[in-house]
Symmetry: C2
Subunit: 232 residues, 2 copies
């Protein structure tokens, strides 16, 4: 399979590396590849320069959003939530049509300081906005409720824990579930929350996730819905 | 100890019955006790008439909000979230001063239909509003992330799972933690999220809780933060 990962941050890099390690062809999409490669210092979240990361992964290519979107059979939105719609517009509606768009982003708004707030929230979600803006794509919200390393290596967290999927297309959710299984998620750990409006619930987990990070002092944790398998 | 439970719904009844069974003196508070006792049919959520419930529990009394608040050393807000501030005003600022106020309510707004939305949300919470309105009380948000039966009988859900506490007063959170332990919660299952602003995180769990109810078809589930004990 060919995957396009939009976004060069921790989530994008982690997903791209995992997909490449599984033998998939992977292109990372960015607004301006030359500018991305020219950056010398760590980014604002402490990630080392993307060029250095890419140099160690010859099987991953870096392309402009539109070219990455053209390349991928499946497109992963791993951009910052507040720029995701712009990035996907740049990726191109026609090039996203008919494809599964896996949205792992959270619409965190840091403009008012810490902690960030969600925007949209409550009566809308980023997942829904993407689905509305790209009605011919099959948007599946998933993996946004955990640290990026756990996304592709669930065994980092001991014991059983869950990953959620939200989306309007059952076939797309089934495909994404198989991708999650290939990442190491037991099939029974994947909980289908329902249609894309259930992305509100998944995104609204972020405020307690951020507080748990503060309370626990680390991000190697994840939610397990105890009792989820006690009845049919 | 003397407890006042404000609210006659499922959460209030469940908490009152549990506290009485533990040997505490319990008064349930309502706006108009005569009107509460006069109701003959099930309420809108399917709870049987309160009078019938009360008749089977002679150790529990029913009082007006102010009288219940006067009676209780600790006051539990188990009213519907959209009327909680009014109920607490009726309970009386002076009678709540210096006391622990345990807030288990969720600010669910059903006025726009199903599913309900949270109001306030994201940049505020019901827990914070109560703390601001009653600065001389020690507000602790807890237990709002699960079905009422699990609140007082955590073993209904198999395996380890968590209950959260949020509040500005460490002594109050310690006291509430001991109360939770008396309900059957292992002490290590109680996670202190931080100050009262962390109630936003706990309240914003509701949208995914509601979706999980739909996905699982039952409410005997609860969240476990896997990895919460892997590091100090």
């Amino acid at each position: 399979m060919r995957y396009a990962i939009l976004g060069t941050g921790a989530a994008g890099r982690t997903l791209a590396a995992k997909l490449a390690s599984l033998g998939h062809e992977v292109a990372v999409g960015t607004r301006d590849p030359r500018a991305t490669l020219a950056r010398a210092g760590d980014d604002s979240l402490g990630n080392p320069p993307f060029g250095r990361w890419l140099a160690e992964r010859p099987q991953v290519s870096l392309l402009a959003f539109a070219d990455a979107s053209e390349f991928g059979d499946t497109v992963v939105n791993a951009t910052a939530g507040n720029v995701s719609l712009h990035a996907l517009e740049a990726a191109g509606r026609d090039r996203l049509a008919g494809k599964i768009v896996i949205d792992v982003a959270n619409p965190l708004d840091f403009s008012q300081g810490m902690p960030p707030v969600l925007s949209p929230v409550n009566t809308d979600s980023l997942g829904e906005r993407i689905q509305r803006a790209f009605p011919e794509s099959k948007v599946v919200k998933t993996l946004n409720t955990m640290n990026a390393r756990i996304m592709v290596e669930p065994s980092r967290v001991p014991g059983a824990h869950n990953v959620f999927v939200s989306g309007d297309d059952d076939g797309a959710k089934k495909g994404v579930t198989q991708l999650l299984v290939s990442f190491g998620w037991p099939e029974e750990s994947v909980i289908d929350l329902g249609d894309i409006t259930s992305a509100r619930g998944a995104e609204m987990v972020l405020p307690i996730w951020l507080r748990l990070w503060g309370a626990l002092g680390h991000t190697d944790f994840n939610f397990h819905v105890q009792g989820s398998r006690t009845r049919a």
